[in-house]
């Protein structure tokens, strides 16, 4: 399984290697699971004791640890964020999510408007969080930045929203091909799921394109050459791998279910012991699906997306392998240790993902200079990013 197989070779020829400054910027991650475990344990206690108010400060500690251990060409990343600003964003997001969850639980009629509101502000929040996170990250004292436009953020989310809108507007309650409303609601559920799956690669392509065209450090502004059909090809491979996994999970469930039944009742007989087989099957499906298939997709996407990202003097490469296996191991260990393995899992995944990336630079970063963002058209976005101060994961 060659991860790079799906990466289309770049159109323009490689830059002539004329300058002596040209070199490879190696990424190294030195974080340790045992240390992160201790940070996590103490963060948890303080979060609980403060009834959640410590969350942004815990996040800041976490980010600073990850950054101090991410060395690019021998220099670490630095985080300039202010925990109190992050606190404001955290409160806003908590209120928003809390309100929509509450509405969902207690009032089905209010759930739809709450969900629509969340959908309406989501792209703006997403962009603001990237602006905040990158704007507060520096390398060699040079700040990163995110310069994607607000309209672009909404456009990138279109494939997620259009089918949802069409379905809610067009599907009358309980109507459908069958006279049984129960069958109809299942029909529409599977229809929606199917449509979302079909559009997922397109959506990934739009989102990644938007993100990777907006990064900046010093005079380097990132760009990406990403073909939607390459993402669809990865999606297709994922379906094939998924089918193979489903077959394997079924076989494994028969063995595991038999063992469970034997241990619990002393009989392997499938009759009357069906729920042991069901339990084993659901558990394995969960492990392979969410624990194995999603990381498979994530790894291929990382290779495709980062491998095609470049700026005036930078070219990135990503050769990520083994994420699926690592992640399934992590899941097993997390479940077996009731969550205690989690910090070790985070470190292992971060190391694997970062070590897979290599940066070729045709100039010496020591010569880079901050560009004054004087011609910045959309200043309100920066203010919003600064105000929200949140980070919903890059």
């Amino acid at each position: 399984m060659h991860a790079t197989a799906a990466v289309p070779t770049t159109a323009d020829p490689p830059l002539p290697n004329t300058e002596a400054a040209a070199r490879v910027l190696q990424i190294r991650f030195t974080g340790s699971g045992s240390e992160y475990f201790r940070i996590w344990a103490i963060n948890l206690l303080l979060i609980l004791l403060s009834c959640g108010l410590y969350l942004p400060f815990a996040k800041m500690r976490r980010i600073r640890y990850l950054y101090a251990n991410t060395l690019i060409d021998g220099e670490a990343l630095a985080f300039h964020g202010d925990a109190w600003r992050m606190f404001r964003g955290f409160v806003l997001l908590a209120v928003l999510l809390g309100a929509s969850t509450f509405a969902e639980t207690f009032s089905p009629a209010a759930a739809l408007p709450a969900f629509v509101l969340l959908c309406a502000v989501w792209p703006a929040l997403w962009r603001a969080s990237m602006q905040f996170r990158l704007g507060n990250t520096s390398w060699r004292g040079l700040r990163f930045g995110f310069e994607g436009s607000l309209a672009g953020a909404y456009l990138a989310h279109l494939p997620v929203y259009i089918p949802a809108v069409v379905l809610t507007a067009l599907v009358p309650d309980g109507q459908g091909p069958s006279s049984d409303p129960g069958v109809n609601s299942q029909f529409w559920f599977w229809m929606t799921l199917g449509m979302l799956c079909l559009m997922a690669p397109w959506s990934t392509a739009l989102l990644k394109r938007y993100q990777h065209q907006g990064y900046r450090i010093a005079g380097e502004r990132s760009g990406i050459l990403l073909r939607t059909r390459s993402v669809y090809f990865i999606g297709f491979k994922m379906v094939v791998v998924g089918l193979a996994m489903a077959v394997f999970a079924t076989l494994a469930a028969i063995v595991l279910g038999g063992l469970l039944a034997l241990v619990a009742t002393g009989k392997i007989d499938a009759k009357g012991n069906g729920h042991y087989y069901g339990l084993a099957f659901i558990g394995l499906l969960y492990l392979f699906g969410a624990g194995g298939l999603l990381p498979y997709y994530a790894a291929r996407i990382q290779n495709l997306v980062w491998g095609n990202t470049r700026s005036a003097s930078l070219r990135l490469h990503s050769e990520l392998r083994g994420l699926t296996r690592l992640n399934m191991m992590n899941w097993l260990l997390i479940v077996l240790t009731l969550g205690l393995y989690r910090p070790f899992a985070v470190m292992a995944v971060t190391r694997l993902r970062l070590h897979a990336v290599r940066i070729d630079s045709s100039t010496d970063p020591a010569t880079w200079k901050t560009v004054r963002a004087g011609s910045h058209a959309d200043a309100s976005g920066d203010v919003a990013g600064d105000f929200f101060g949140m980070d919903v994961g890059l």
Binding site: R38, A41, Y65, N273
Partner: protein, 347 residues
């Protein structure tokens, strides 16, 4: 020692990527380096950890990077800079494990006592009138998506309502607290639900034609099942579950959240199922007592479980098992309904 200890560092001024080698020293609460000076209050001091680069983030955008972590720590000690409380905590395995033990104890206590007490108190403060519209909305939604009108005649439905009302009335007359407001709906369902009954917030109860069909010669079993649903109504389990699920989801997100949101769904499922099982026991207790006080024989419930088993085989294949997966085991419940209750009244 007259000379103040100093340390070499790379200074990045925030304008250019070129590192400037500087000597850093601390004097009167001021950081001196490369001809600059900055009060400590404007410096983000790096945390002492075994791994990772020591970086000082300077207000105004610059960064001081110390390539040698061990040298930095020795220098920090020599200048008299003491690591903060949390920093020292993070360095010690012992303290970290104590913190984790405390967290575990708090989670366990919160799940066992704190959350149930909190949700009970909260639910007691929610007036019934606020619960009503919630139940109405859920019923309307379930109606649209899962149910069809009943094929029982109005007279049959009315007869069941009267029987049920009589049972509750005599239970109330004997001093038992029973729901004041309730509505009993009859619906036909799709194959996905089968013989079933459920209760919603605000005193809405619904029973399926399929259940009545299954037990039409066993009215006592039907009435006991309805009494079970009335138990959910009386204890307002719908509201309680809603509040508990929300809090458990938040706790699980804190525990596992930044690793995988899929994985954090697992404890939510397990924890809320645990609560639900308690609710089912509570509703069973209510049903047994209400039935006895209302002149209905709860032991007939055994027939219901028998017929379900006949119809669907063992629990795994039955759609009932899916919707009732959080119920206690059948045999346990049969024994419960057959056993003499602690307060069986004799009229």
């Amino acid at each position: 020692m007259s000379a103040l200890p100093s340390l070499t560092a790379h200074w990045f001024d925030g304008q250019q990527g070129q590192a400037q080698p500087v000597e850093v020293r601390l004097e009167d609460g001021q950081l001196h380096f490369g001809g600059q000076q900055l009060p400590l209050s404007r410096v983000q001091w790096p945390e002492r950890l075994r791994h990772g680069r020591r970086l000082m983030v300077l207000q105004g955008g610059g960064v001081l990077s110390f390539p040698d972590a061990a040298a930095f720590d020795a220098w920090a000690d020599a200048t008299g800079h003491r690591p903060g409380l949390i920093e020292r905590w993070q360095l010690s395995w012992q303290l970290a494990l104590i913190a984790l033990a405390l967290v575990t104890a708090m989670f366990a206590a919160g799940w066992r006592w704190g959350l149930p007490a909190l949700s009970d108190r909260l639910v007691d403060r929610i007036p019934l009138s606020a619960e009503q519209p919630i139940g109405d909305q859920v019923m309307a939604m379930v109606d649209k998506q899962w149910l069809r009108p009943s094929q029982l005649s109005d007279a049959e439905q009315q007869a069941w309502r009267e029987r049920f009302g009589r049972m509750l009335a005599s239970a109330r007359a004997s001093g038992m607290a029973v729901p004041e407001h309730w509505q009993l709906h009859f619906r036909r369902t799709s194959a996905t639900l089968g013989p079933n009954a459920f209760a919603l917030p605000g005193g809405q109860m619904c029973v399926t034609d399929e259940l009545i069909e299954l037990l039409k010669d066993e009215p006592d079993a039907v009435l006991t099942i309805l009494a079970h649903e009335a138990g959910h109504v009386q204890h307002r389990h719908g509201m309680r579950t809603g509040i508990r699920a929300g809090v458990v989801a938040a706790a699980a997100a804190i525990w596992l959240g930044d690793y995988s949101s899929f994985l954090s769904g697992l404890p939510v499922l397990l924890a809320t199922n645990g609560y639900r099982r308690d609710h089912e026991r509570e509703a069973d207790a209510f049903a047994r007592e209400a039935a006895r006080r209302g002149g209905v024989d709860p032991a007939r419930m055994a027939i219901f479980f028998e017929r379900i088993r006949e119809k669907y085989g063992d629990s795994a294949e039955s759609p009932l098992a899916i919707s009732f997966s959080s119920h206690p085991a059948d045999s346990e419940r049969i024994a419960f309904f057959k056993a003499e209750g602690p307060v069986a009244p004799k009229n």
